[in-house]
Amino acid sequence: METAACIIDVNKLNFYYGKFQALKDITLCLKPHKITAFIGPSGCGKSTFLRTLNRMNDLIAGVRINGKVLIDGRNIYAPDMDVVELRRRVGMVFQRPNPFPMSIYDNVTYAPRMKGQSRGLDDLVERTLVRAALWDEVKDKLKVSALSLSGGQQQRLCIARALAADPGILLMDEPCSSLDPVSTLRIEELMQDLKSEYTIIIVTHNMQQAARVADYTGFFLSGELIEFGDSNKIFTKPDDKRTEGYITGRFG
């Protein structure tokens, strides 16, 4: 674990919704080109943590944060941080597929067009959809509404849309929770393909999914990061009794 530098370096991160402390003293290092999963019961702070990594929580009133989150060595909570640039760098895919009500083509080109890009969009659409393992299914209907796609296809389109912004890091918040098992496996395979180019961080309620896809797994409980390490270790011989209790369905 100590070999590569951290692409995301979190140090003593505390996070409050008003008086409620949702994250307590989180310190960890996420490695580039790896998939890291966060698991834990509802309300444990794992989604809140994920959303601190691209400052999605800024949009909620009354939140307070201290500690440091360094991405590529820069503190993303520094006053001079460009949040739009941060969210371009750190893309996000949500629980339910949320394609924009426009064509497949326009969905993929949305971010580049917002940035003013007008050339090479066709190539970008093909390249990105190929990368998101969707190209073969939609190449003949790029001008069709994205809403006509199946749930699994919509989610891959959302991944494509995120990739088109050229992020280095991809956050996925329960990306398969509304998908059927085949679409789920397709997304999991896609994650493996993507990790050579991206760093992926996923929050999931599905422990088997974490075990299948993630190189590293972290277990959150009541706002604390109880255990973090190799998925192999976490799912065969966790160090902490609370991790063991959670993943085996027994609470001590």
Binding site: Q208, T236, E244, T248, G249, R250, F251
Partner: protein
Amino acid sequence: MTESIRKTFDEQLSDMQQEIVCMGSMVEQMVHHAIKALSERDIELAERVIRMDDAVDDLDISIEGRCMRMLALQQPVARDLRTIGTSMKIITDLERMGDHAVDIAKLARTLAEQPLFKPIVDIPKMAAVAQKMLRESLQAFVNRDIDLVQKMVADDDAVDALYRRIYDEIVDYMEKDPGIIRQAIILLRVARFLERIADHATNIGERVIFMETGVLEELNI
């Protein structure tokens, strides 16, 4: 007290453990009867041991099936996963011990038809220790008792010492009277099977430690 929200799975695990204990006591009985058949020259008892092996083989298959079903249907992790993995290894050791008991019973059947060149003394002693090891290894498995494993494994030295003593003694006999070589070799083989049975008990002990600690180490080199 630990609260479990997996009652069905817990029951399946406990049923599996009970079946392993049942298989173990059957094997222990086979070893006991095989040695008794040998020292009391009881052909009928030897035949019974040979017949018991089918039941042990059935249990082996049944328990393996349970393990496979739990792996597929319950997706066990951590300690549960290690328990099931351990169980699959343990039944292989038990099955092999049953085979050795059968081997001994077959030799007992052969020996029963001829007068013995010496009284059988040390072999039942060796068998008693091996049986104790088998019993304790399964007790350690069920109770997740690492201390008992350590205690049990220490007995393996006693088995090895008895084996060497029996070996030396029988070789002496053979040197003095080549006429008894056929019988002597049979007794040597019995002792060797008992030594193997004790080794399988040690294997079970190693697996129990792995189940509890996640670390697999050789206990008796």
